[in-house]
C-alpha cells in the first residue's frame, strides 16, 4: 500500500483538530507573540544600555523569526504515541498496511500544519510586537526556504525518535516538555548561537537542533551566504540522513518490544 495515502487523512485530521480546539491554538500563539515581544524588548534594552557590538536590527529580526519557528515546532506527537502505547491501541496502528513510522511522521507533520494555519494570519501581529524584514537577497530567501524545509524534516524525525521511547518506557511524565525546553534552547530561539558563550556554542553546534532555527535564519539574514550557506545545507542533509537511518533502526528494535497491556 502506498504510504503516501496515509499522510493526507492524518494531516487533515490534525489540522481540523487545531481548528476545533481553537482556544488552545490561539493561546499557544498569544504566548508565542508575548514571548517574541519580551525577547525583543530585552535585547533592545540590553543594546541601548550595555556593551553590545552587534547591530540591533538583524538581531531583532532573528529573535522574531526564531520565535515564530518555535511556535511552528511547539507541537509534539510524543504525548499521542505515549497515550496509544498506554492503552495498547498502538497495535492497531502497527497492524495497518501503511508503515507505523509513516503514520507517526504524518501526525507530526499535521501538528506543524495546524500551527502554520494560525501563524500565517498572526504575521501582522508579529510585525507589530517584533521586527520583521525581507530576506537579505532573493537567493537568501530561496536558500532559507530550502534550509527551513530541511530543518522541519530534522525536527519531525527527532520527534518521531523521541516518541519511539514510549515503546521502552510506558510512561515518562514531562518528556515532551523536557524535549521542547532543550530543543528550543539549543536551536538558538532566544539568542543566536553566535552570542552563546564559547563552550555552550560548541555543545550547540554538535546537536541537530540548530538546524531548525539558527541555520535557516542566519541564511535568511545573509549572515551565512555563498559557500557557507551551502555548507550549512549540506550539514542539514547529513543530519537528515543520519536521523532517518536512526529512526528506521530504532523502530526495528521497538517492534520486537511491542507489549500490549495484559498481553
Amino acid at each position: 500500500m502506498n504510504p503516501c495515502s496515509v499522510y493526507r487523512p492524518i494531516i487533515t485530521c490534525r489540522v481540523r483538530e487545531a481548528l476545533v480546539f481553537r482556544a488552545n491554538s490561539i493561546t499557544l500563539g498569544a504566548g508565542a507573540l508575548v514571548q517574541i515581544f519580551l525577547v525583543n524588548a530585552v535585547w533592545t534594552a540590553a543594546h541601548r544600555s550595555g556593551t553590545f557590538e552587534q547591530p540591533l536590527d538583524p538581531l531583532l529580526v532573528y529573535v522574531t523569526l526564531a520565535g515564530l519557528h518555535a511556535w511552528l515546532l511547539s507541537g509534539s506527537v510524543l504525548p499521542y504515541v505515549q497515550r496509544q502505547v498506554n492503552r495498547g491501541a498502538h497495535i492497531f496502528e502497527i497492524l495497518r498496511p501503511s508503515g507505523y513510522l509513516s503514520q507517526v511522521t504524518a501526525h507530526q507533520l499535521g501538528l506543524i500544519a495546524g500551527a502554520l494555519l494560525f501563524i500565517v494570519p498572526a504575521l501582522p501581529i508579529a510585525l507589530l510586537v517584533g521586527s520583521l524584514s525581507p530576506p537579505h537577497t532573493v537567493s537568501s530567501g530561496l536558500l532559507y526556504v530550502v534550509s527551513l524545509t530541511l530543518g522541519l524534516g530534522i525536527h519531525v524525525l527527532l520527534c518521531v525518535l523521541v516518541s519511539l521511547s514510549a515503546f521502552w518506557t510506558l510512561q515518562i511524565d514531562g518528556l515532551t516538555l523536557l524535549y521542547r525546553i532543550i530543543s528550543q534552547f539549543f536551536a538558538g530561539t532566544f539568542a543566536p548561537l553566535s552570542l552563546f558563550p564559547g563552550w555552550l556554542a560548541a555543545i550547540a553546534e554538535l546537536l541537530p537542533f540548530q538546524a531548525t532555527t539558527y541555520l535557516p535564519i542566519t541564511v535568511y539574514l545573509g549572515e551565512v551566504s555563498g559557500t557557507d550557506a551551502l555548507w550549512a545545507i549540506a550539514h542539514q542533509l547529513l543530519w537528515l540522513a543520519a536521523l532517518t537511518l536512526a529512526a528506521i533502526a530504532v523502530w526495528r528494535r521497538a517492534q520486537r518490544r511491542v507489549v500490549v497491556q495484559g498481553g
Binding site: 488552545n24 524588548a41 534594552a45 544600555s49 556593551t51
Partner: protein, 247 residues
C-alpha cells in the same frame, strides 16, 4: 510523597525549565553586562524575587489545575454537600509538589544575588521584603483563582490560565523600563509590576527610575490582600453558575 521518583523527576523538570528561562537572561547579560542600569546581580535579585513569589503562589494551588475536569464531570458536587467551604475542601484534597523546582531555583538565584547587591539589611527592609513576597504570591494566586473560577461558566479555562501564567512569567522578571510607556501602564495595571519589580526597585534603592509616585511602589502587600478579597468574591459569585451534570 508516595511517588518519590515521580516527585524527584518532576522537581528536576521544574528546575530545568526555570534554568532554561533564566539562561536567556544570563546570555543577554553575558553579551551586554547591563540592562537599563541593572547589573547581573540586580537582575538576579529581581528574577529570583519574582520566582519566589510565583513558587509560593503555586504551592497551595497546584490542585487548581484539575478544577476544569472536576467541574465538567460534575465531580465538584461532593464539595457542595459538605459543611466546609468548597474552595478549601477542593484545594486541600490533594497536594501536589510541582512548585518544588521553582522554589529551588528561586532560592539558588536569590542566594547568589543577596550577598552581591547593595541592600541595607535592617528590620524595616526585611519586613518590607517579606511582606512584598507574600503580597506578590497573593497577587498571582488571586488572579489564577479568579480566572479558574470562570470554569463554572465556560467549562474550560486551561488556555486562558496558561496565557495568564505566561504573561506573569515573561514580563514580571525584568525591569519595567525595558517596555514602552503604554506597556508599562498595562503591566502596572494588571498588576504584574507589583509582584517583584517595585519591591526590587525599593530594596535596591532604584526609586530614581520610577515613573510612578514613590509611595505606589510600597503597595504590593495591600494590593495582594485586595486581590485576595476580589478572588474570594469572584469565586463565590461564579460558583452559583455550577450546573453539575445538568448541561
Amino acid at each position: 510523597m508516595q511517588y518519590k521518583t515521580n516527585f524527584i523527576s518532576m522537581t528536576l523538570l521544574g528546575v530545568i525549565y526555570q534554568a532554561s528561562a533564566f539562561s536567556f537572561v544570563a546570555i543577554v547579560m553575558y553579551n551586554s553586562g547591563v540592562i537599563d542600569g541593572w547589573v547581573f546581580e540586580e537582575i538576579c535579585f529581581l528574577y529570583g524575587l519574582r520566582l519566589l513569589a510565583h513558587a509560593l503562589s503555586v504551592l497551595p494551588l497546584s490542585h487548581l489545575w484539575t478544577l476544569d475536569s472536576m467541574v465538567r464531570e460534575a465531580e465538584f458536587d461532593r464539595y457542595l454537600l459538605r459543611p466546609m467551604s468548597p474552595f478549601l475542601q477542593f484545594l486541600t484534597s490533594k497536594f501536589q509538589m510541582n512548585a518544588a523546582g521553582d522554589l529551588l531555583v528561586a532560592v539558588i538565584v536569590l542566594g547568589y544575588a543577596f550577598p552581591r547587591v547593595d541592600i541595607d539589611f535592617n528590620p524595616a527592609t526585611v519586613a518590607y521584603l517579606t511582606a512584598s513576597v507574600a503580597g506578590g504570591a497573593l497577587i498571582e494566586a488571586s488572579i489564577q483563582v479568579s480566572v479558574a473560577s470562570l470554569v463554572f461558566r465556560t467549562l474550560n479555562t486551561m488556555s486562558f490560565r496558561i496565557f495568564t501564567d505566561t504573561i506573569f512569567n515573561l514580563t514580571g522578571s525584568y525591569p519595567l523600563t525595558i517596555f514602552s510607556g503604554f506597556t508599562q501602564s498595562l503591566l502596572i495595571a494588571i498588576p504584574v509590576s507589583f509582584v517583584a519589580y517595585f519591591p526590587a526597585v525599593v530594596t535596591l534603592g532604584k526609586e530614581g527610575e520610577l515613573n510612578v509616585p514613590h509611595w505606589v511602589a510600597f503597595l504590593t502587600f495591600p494590593i495582594g490582600l485586595l486581590l485576595l478579597l476580589g478572588a474570594a468574591v469572584t469565586w463565590k459569585s461564579q460558583m452559583r453558575h455550577y450546573q453539575s451534570s445538568g448541561h
